[in-house]
Symmetry: C2
Amino acid sequence: MAVHGPAMTDVARLAGVSHQTVSRVLNGHPNVREQTRLRVRAAIAELGYRPNGAARALVTGRSQVIGVVAQNTTLYGPASLLAALEQTAAEEGFAVSVGSVRNLDHRSISAAVERHLSHRVAGIVVIAPVESAGEALERLPKDVPLVTVDGDPSRPVPLVTVDQVAGARAATQHLLDAGHRTVWHVSGPTDWFDSVGRIDGWRQALLAAGLDPPPPMPGDWSAASGYRCGQMLARMPEVTAVFTANDHLALGVLRALHEFGRRVPDEISVVGFDDVPEAAYFIPPLTTVRPDFDAVARASLQMLLSQIESGTGGALRQTVAPALVARESVAPPRR
Amino acid sequence: MAVHGPAMTDVARLAGVSHQTVSRVLNGHPNVREQTRLRVRAAIAELGYRPNGAARALVTGRSQVIGVVAQNTTLYGPASLLAALEQTAAEEGFAVSVGSVRNLDHRSISAAVERHLSHRVAGIVVIAPVESAGEALERLPKDVPLVTVDGDPSRPVPLVTVDQVAGARAATQHLLDAGHRTVWHVSGPTDWFDSVGRIDGWRQALLAAGLDPPPPMPGDWSAASGYRCGQMLARMPEVTAVFTANDHLALGVLRALHEFGRRVPDEISVVGFDDVPEAAYFIPPLTTVRPDFDAVARASLQMLLSQIESGTGGALRQTVAPALVARESVAPPRR
DNA sequence: AGCGTCTCTGTTAACGCTAACAAAAATTGG
DNA sequence: CCAATTTTTGTTAGCGTTAACAGAGACGCT
């Protein structure tokens, strides 16, 4: 099997030039006569020649591949990010190699990065939303272009991130603006920076309004944990507004409230985060915060490419602002 | 930048052997003295040597990378499949390169495959759920190990697929067993084989029960289209049972029924497909069919690896049976 | 005409690895 | 203990590409 395709020399022979000239045509080198270029192009087409990326990577030391390290690519956020990243990379002529990882601990991340490095990827994007990932990143080889997404804001690493704080503040403010006296929060796992940021933004908004934040209820992103928190919230008559750290938590909360006969938004308002495509079809349609994953992907790729091209490893930072999407799960509190 | 790491010769020098011996240790060749092996291992560790995949790929003609061509990796099914595929591949020492593609038409697929081929991937997995993909696959080079997932059952290509027909039949039968006189169906896009299979299974179950299948209502997998179909179903008093081609469609249907005041499951029963993690928290919790994505991933990778190793390109076929998950969205019809 | 300066093309040498063969060392059998 | 084997190691030659340099024309200037 594996009938090897034609190589550059075959093209060269057919076109009556040297293989180097073929290489020049392929790489868009300027100093090639138009006529020659055409002849080479024709030969390439005739033979169905396809350049060998491995050989190129060997001699240049870099492949046209970007490695991505991510955890649970089944979650909506990571999956969207990954897809967007891949699209953007493809437009720039890069392939994306995924190294998904069960746990975001030190060892797993290092192993995934190692795998990428041994394939000589041009750069690495780490979707590293948890604390333990940060440590792993610090001891990585310094000469590899690297960008982290949703990582630790306090580390000196190039970072692109959704402005969790601003998003959470907007969500909370939206509820306060509707007239609620305070806002409860169902958070994500507290070792995720996303969660921390959202807790922060929620707290900021309350404090700015002179309110004392109630204790956040910790969830784990899943509808199941949202349901459990919702069961508690449903039994607390003073609760009129809830901000959940993502839409799936909100779904669980909605379900619990429904079971307890507490009507949304009449008795309790709910705001989520992520704007999953189904959020508009929850009962009731969910007001939520929409992060722009495309923008995040574009920003991180651009940052990575500029590192790859320039060789500088600057520790930039870029933040993408999310937008509030108002639907029917928010209403003024009943007097 | 790009301080090149140590190469095999550096390791060899440090260990006092030839680079070939290092290569043998690395590839687990049997005829190496234990003592030598240890010395080489030590040198590798000391230098932090990492083999150069590009060089290896160049000389062997195959890299340790598997290319995946997929469409919308944001959907739950494809995302789960991709994640599972990546996990399994990693265990076998393979990296996964994703070539996601906006449309599953001829050109896009060919382009994605081309990209993979020029990186000399060891094999390709095509998640090709639509008709137009099949054509592209037929004109692919025959010497590349290839497996399709959820592809065209009528094509002579190695194929792993969820048994859509059986799943749909089980769902429909479940509703009939509950006592419903017939079952309506909200389908996926009809150019997806998944949809076709599910329509088929639904129809089979009805015909087997001596019933005349009502016209299926075409959706596009989204909650939005489910909602539109749901609005129609809600106004049809004779409808007591609906099987939707996936859970998101079901969500839209549930929402429409709710809006029209038709209670689920009291007045209308609903069954979905996919068992997304949130399905248990829909209102009401959704009875659905759960495909085993891990099993699909394992089967396809195994099939691909056996092609890679043996060189035979046999057109195998493997089917993974899904399981019905009963929740609260199904009840007997009211008399 | 002679000479420097472009533009275009060819030649040669890596890149880091494995395959194939060759040589050396260790082991066995009589 | 020596020849015949077997095991272990080394040597050489690519894999297909780009980089660096060298050569050949074409052109313009003095």
